[in-house]
C-alpha cells in the first residue's frame, strides 16, 4: 500500500440548534493514497459537499480527525463563474493566491499564471478578460488553472461539471485526468453522476444520509454493488444505446 495523503477518521458535522439537529455528516472515515482519485457519490443532501468543505477547512468539524499529509490543497466549485470575482480579471485572480502565499516577485507570479493557463489550454489572451466574458467551460478551466498555481497535492472537485454541457464536461474530465496522470495530483471527485465518477476514479465511496454506505474499487463496485442504495443509484443512470443491453445482463 502506498502512502496516504489524506486520512479522515470519524468525521462528523451536525447543523442546527440544540432543539432540532441534523447530522449532515455522520462519523465517516476514509483514506486517499498519493496520486489516487477517490470518487464520492450520493444524492443532494447526502453530505458529500459538507465533507469536502470540512477537508478544505471551510467548515469546522464537530468531531473527528482530518490528517492531511500534503502541503497545499485546493478546491474547485460547481459554479465556475460565481467562483471568480466580477471585478478582477482572470490574470489577477490567478495571481492573487501566490501574492499572499509566497515572496516571489510580481513578474514571476504573472509568468507562472500564464504557464498555468497553458496547462489548461486557455488561450493567453484571455488573461485580461473578466468572468462575464468567459463561457462556463472556459471559466472552469481558469478555476483549475488558479488551483494549480500553488502546486497542490490534492484537488477537491465538488460537482465541477454539473453546470456544464456534456461536451464541455468531457473536456474538463479529460483535463483533470491529464493532471492526475502527469502531475501525480490526488483527486477527491464529488458528483451525483456515478457514470461520470466511474471514468476518473480509482475507488468510489457512496454516501447516503451522511454516512458512507459502501466503498470499493470503481468497477468492482459498479459490477457488484452490495448495498441497496448503491444498486438504486446505478439503476437510475439512464444508459444510452448499446450500453443498455450490457447493463441489463448484469
Amino acid at each position: 500500500m502506498s502512502e496516504a495523503i489524506l486520512e479522515v477518521n470519524g468525521l462528523t458535522k451536525v447543523f442546527g440548534t440544540k432543539k432540532s439537529q441534523h447530522k449532515a455528516v455522520d462519523n465517516i472515515s476514509f483514506r486517499l493514497e498519493q496520486g489516487e482519485c477517490l470518487g464520492i457519490i450520493g444524492e443532494s443532501g447526502s453530505g458529500k459537499s459538507t465533507t469536502a468543505h470540512m477537508i478544505a477547512g471551510l467548515l469546522k468539524p464537530c468531531s473527528g480527525e482530518i490528517d492531511y499529509k500534503g502541503r497545499y490543497l485546493q478546491m474547485i466549485f460547481q459554479n465556475p463563474i460565481r467562483s471568480f470575482s466580477p471585478r478582477m480579471n482572470i490574470l489577477d485572480s490567478l495571481c492573487e493566491g501566490l501574492l499572499y502565499q509566497s515572496d516571489l516577485p510580481r513578474k514571476e507570479i504573472r509568468k507562472k499564471a500564464l504557464e498555468a493557463m497553458d496547462m489548461v489550454k486557455l488561450p493567453r489572451d484571455y488573461a485580461r478578460r473578466y468572468r462575464s466574458q468567459l463561457s462556463g467551460g472556459e471559466c472552469q478551466r481558469a478555476a483549475i488553472a488558479r488551483a494549480l498555481m500553488i502546486h497542490p497535492d490534492l484537488l477537491i472537485c465538488d460537482e465541477v461539471t454539473s453546470a456544464l454541457d456534456v461536451s464541455i464536461q468531457a473536456e474538463i474530465m479529460q483535463l483533470l485526468y491529464r493532471l492526475k496522470q502527469s502531475m501525480g495530483i490526488s483527486l477527491l471527485f464529488i458528483s451525483h453522476d456515478i457514470a461520470l465518477v466511474s471514468g476518473i476514479s480509482d475507488r468510489v465511496a457512496v454516501m447516503h444520509d451522511g454516512k458512507i454506505v459502501e466503498t470499493g474499487d470503481t468497477m468492482a463496485l459498479i459490477e457488484n454493488p452490495k448495498q441497496d442504495y448503491t444498486k438504486e443509484l446505478i439503476a437510475s443512470v439512464l444508459p444510452v444505446y448499446g450500453e443498455k443491453e450490457k447493463i441489463m445482463e448484469r
Binding site: 444524492e43 443532494s44 462556463g136 454541457d165 456534456v166 461536451s167 464541455i168 464536461q169 468531457a170 473536456e171 474530465m173 479529460q174 485526468y177 451525483h192 453522476d193 456515478i194 457514470a195 461520470l196 466511474s198 471514468g199 476518473i200 470503481t218 468497477m219 459498479i222 438504486e232 443509484l233 446505478i234 437510475s236 443512470v237 439512464l238 444508459p239 444510452v240 444505446y241 448499446g242 450500453e243 443498455k244 450490457k246 447493463i247
Partner: protein, 268 residues
C-alpha cells in the same frame, strides 16, 4: 399535430434559430438535444410565444393542428397558451409564484380559460396531482413552492401545466436541476401523462439518457440548425452527422472510461 416549417428566430440582428423544420404527431414525444447556445430553448419559446425581447420569429410557419400560430399577436397567444400549449421549465421552484399557494396557481391557470368556481378548480387540481401520483394532493394545494422539494415542485408544475388538458406540452430541461433518482420519477410522470391523455410532448434537454428513455423522435440542434432528425433508433444508434457522433461519445459511460471530448471545429 405540430409542424414547424422553416422556422428562423432572431434576436435583433442575430439569427439564433435557422431554418428549422420538424413534425410531431399526436401523442408523440419528441426530444431536442444540443449544447447551450444551440438555440433549442429559443425554438420552444418561439412556439409558445414567450421569446424575450427583442426575439422574433422572422420566417416560417408554426402549424398547430393546421393553424399557423407564428404571426399571432400577444393577446391571441394568451388564449392558446395554457389551454392548447403548456410549458414547464428547468427551475420549477422559480416558475411558480413564491407568494401563492399551489392551489392558487392552479386556480389562476384554470380560470384564465374558463369560468370556474374555486371549489371546482380545487377538485380539478387534486385530480391532476393524483395523475402524477403525488401523495396527499389536498395538502399540497395549501403549500407554498418553498415548502416542496425540487422533485415535488417540478411534478406540481407539470400538474399545473396539465390543468387545462393541453394537446401539446413543452418541456425546457425539466430534469436538469434534479437528482438522478428524482429525474427518473419525473420522466415516468411525463410518460404516464402521454399514456393517459395522449399529450404530445416536446422536450428540450442536453441529457441523451433522458431522450433515450422517453422520446420517439429526436432532433439534434447545433448552432441554430437542426443537423439531425429522425426516429430515436436512427439518431442514437446510427448517427449520421459528425456532431451527433461526437455528442454521443461525450456522454459518460459506466464502464470506467473517460468521456471523449469533441474536437473544436465547426461541423458543416
Amino acid at each position: 399535430m405540430l409542424e414547424l416549417q422553416n422556422i428562423s428566430i432572431a434576436y435583433g440582428e442575430k439569427e439564433v434559430v435557422r431554418n428549422v423544420s420538424l413534425r410531431a404527431e399526436k401523442g408523440e414525444i419528441v426530444g431536442i438535444v444540443g449544447e447551450s447556445g444551440s438555440g433549442k430553448s429559443t425554438l420552444i419559446r418561439g412556439i409558445i410565444g414567450l421569446l424575450d425581447y427583442p426575439g422574433k420569429i422572422i420566417e416560417g410557419k408554426i402549424l398547430l393542428n393546421g393553424r399557423n400560430i407564428a404571426p399571432y399577436p400577444a393577446e391571441k397567444m394568451r388564449e392558446i397558451r395554457g389551454k392548447e400549449i403548456a410549458m414547464i421549465f428547468q427551475h420549477a421552484d422559480l416558475s411558480l409564484d413564491p407568494l401563492w399557494t399551489i392551489g392558487k396557481s392552479f386556480y389562476e391557470s384554470i380560470s384564465m380559460h374558463k369560468k370556474i368556481s374555486k371549489q371546482e378548480a380545487m377538485a380539478c387540481a387534486a385530480e391532476r396531482l393524483k395523475l402524477l401520483s403525488l401523495k396527499n394532493p389536498e395538502k399540497v394545494l395549501n403549500l407554498y413552492p418553498h415548502q416542496l422539494s425540487g422533485g415535488m415542485c417540478q411534478r406540481t408544475a407539470i400538474a399545473i401545466a396539465m390543468a387545462n388538458d393541453p394537446e401539446l406540452l413543452l418541456a425546457d430541461e425539466p430534469t436538469s436541476a434534479l437528482d438522478m433518482t428524482v429525474q427518473n420519477q419525473v420522466i415516468e410522470n411525463m410518460m404516464s401523462i402521454r399514456e393517459q391523455r395522449g399529450t404530445t410532448i416536446l422536450i428540450v434537454t442536453h441529457n441523451m439518457g433522458v431522450v433515450e428513455k422517453m422520446a420517439d423522435k429526436v432532433g439534434v440542434m447545433y448552432r441554430g440548425r437542426l443537423v439531425e432528425w429522425g426516429s430515436k433508433d436512427e439518431v442514437l444508434h446510427d448517427p449520421k452527422h459528425a456532431y451527433t457522433q461526437s455528442l454521443i461519445r461525450a456522454i459518460p459511460k459506466m464502464d470506467g472510461t473517460l468521456p471523449q471530448a469533441p474536437e473544436r471545429c465547426i461541423y458543416e
